[in-house]
Amino acid sequence: MAATQVIRSEWTKIRSVASTVWTLSLAVVVTIALGMLISALSKSEFENMNARDRLSFDPTFISFAGMSLGQLALIVFGVLVVSNEYSTGMIRTSLAAVPQRGTFLFSKLAVATLLALVVGMATSFVTFFLGQAMLGDLSARIGDPGVLRAVIGGGVYMTLIAMFSMGVAAMLRSPMLSLGILMPFFFLISNILGNVSATKKVGQFLPDQAGSKIMQVVVPVDDDVPYGPWGGLAIMVLWVLAALIGGYVLLKKRDA
């Protein structure tokens, strides 16, 4: 079985359902709009900041603030791409057409990942430039040290979030269960664990806490995180790999 055939098939699948369009559009709109809003608010706040906060002021990172909400739409995208097969019963039709389960899963992941990467990267650049426009004279420029890395990193971060969701959905199969775990986790639990001092030591190794480091250009003054932007991204990649391997092993083992 040629993998190219399966990839074409998965492309047909992903482009022929409405959920692809609305989840990705929502991710773009929310990330950009919220990023612009928070950038504008930060600019007016800057006057009232103390010296320490001004020193930690990171215009690049601020323009990505919308991602905390926008990533939820990408989670829905990643979950639906995989779990739709199960909730509709399509999985049996799909696996009868492609009995090589590894080829099936990784073709699906490849197509969805590429799509998330294109959308994520475009969103990241647009968010950056519009956010900087809001920040006016406080803005960073794309040529400043570390900024291009952060902007490209923002696109990669969005892609990795979608991939992680696909892996979790491949393990859990049910869309409601997957979303019920992932949404509160990334919206609330991870943020709490990563910021409360008691749990910070562990919380900072969670996928989104570690991965979002790549979007940071100015390191906060009192920052004691034990990894840099690339280290953080690597931690997130490990989470993604673990989720995908888990999904693959279970798909391989289970009855469809």
Binding site: Q5, S9, V17, E85, T88, R92, T93, L95, A96, P99
Partner: protein, 315 residues
């Protein structure tokens, strides 16, 4: 050709499919019969490599399912008409299956035409009626022009026209020399379409025989006679050594297929006959007898509703 050898599926303690061995041959329609919960669907899923057998083996043209290159070109299956993403159009559903197996787009149009869905090809599948969904599933099975076709309860929930269409389709596919394997829990349905039947109950093989053989062996055939000259006919038949049974309704019954002989005797003796008809006991009865011991979900009383009604009427 599909070959099963000692195929077994166990879910924990429960044995769903118990050491099944049989062969499904090309050129005929093979019916796969069993009461609900007998293990028909599980067996079919194992044939397609969807469920893994606990023991035993199933081969499609000598190969395991996952060894087939572009499997839809070997074997097409309708397992569950609802195994479709409702938000996808009929055309795109078939297109993604075709692409996965290197089948040209033109073939998608062809099968849509064959099943009569061309007009709704761009409509989302969730708006389809049960019959349309079944047709879409069959279009998917036909997509790769496979030599082997498999249908799980294809007539379930269809209207008479749809049932008629599926029967003819299966017969014509078999007439083209293809292997057609179709499951059902209705013996009467299979009697009309199948040339060969495999019967299972609680996962065990109960019968693997040709349909005419099964009919001959399992159903009593007799001749029913009505005549106004009852006593004369009884004498004549008695004289010819034919045993007659009188039934309550005034008809006479003679075991076996002796209608010609009886007709000739009646003519010879100028006896008027109002009815002379060969009869067969229903296959459904034979099937129920065969599977009686293995039926998993018995109704605890035979005909409780009827009894209630009759008692009331008598009272």
């Amino acid at each position: 050709m599909i070959e099963l050898e000692g195929l077994t599926k166990r879910y924990g303690e429960k044995v769903a499919v118990n050491h099944l061995t049989f062969t499904v041959r090309p050129g005929i329609v093979t019916g796969f019969l069993g009461p609900n919960g007998a293990g028909k669907s599980t067996t079919m899923r194992m044939m397609l490599g969807l469920d893994r057998p606990t023991a035993g083996d199933v081969r499609i043209d000598g190969k395991h399912y996952d060894q087939l290159k572009d499997p839809l070109k070997y074997i097409g299956a309708l397992l569950d008409a609802k195994a479709v993403h409702g938000g996808r159009s009929a055309f795109n559903h078939l297109l993604c299956l075709a692409q996965a197996n290197g089948i040209p787009k033109s073939r998608v149009h062809e099968v849509l035409d064959t099943v009569g869905l061309t007009a709704v090809a761009r409509k989302k599948a969730k708006g389809f009626s049960l019959g349309m969904g079944q047709r879409l599933g069959i279009a998917g099975a036909l997509l790769g022009d496979p030599r082997i076709l498999m249908f799980d309860e294809p007539v379930n929930g269809l209207d008479p026209e749809g049932i008629h269409w599926i029967r003819n389709l299966m017969k014509s596919l078999a007439a083209q020399g293809r292997t057609v394997f179709v499951s059902s829990h209705l013996m009467s349905e299979m009697a009309l379409t199948a040339d060969h039947i495999v019967v299972i109950g609680q996962g065990r093989l109960l019968a693997d025989t040709s349909m005419p053989d099964f009919i001959a062996r399992n159903s009593r055939s007799y001749v029913r006679i009505r005549t106004p000259q009852r006593e004369r006919l009884l004498d004549v038949l008695y004289g010819a050594g034919i045993t007659v049974v009188e039934t309550g309704s005034g008809a006479l019954e003679v075991d076996g297929g002796k209608s010609e002989r009886i007709g000739e005797l009646a003519a010879q003796h100028q006896i008027v006959l109002h009815e002379l008809s060969p009869q067969q006991a229903s296959l459904e009865e034979a099937f129920m007898q065969l599977t009686a011991e293995s039926v998993e979900y018995h109704a605890h009383s035979d005909t409780p509703v009827q009894q209630w009604g009759e008692t009331w009427r008598k009272g």
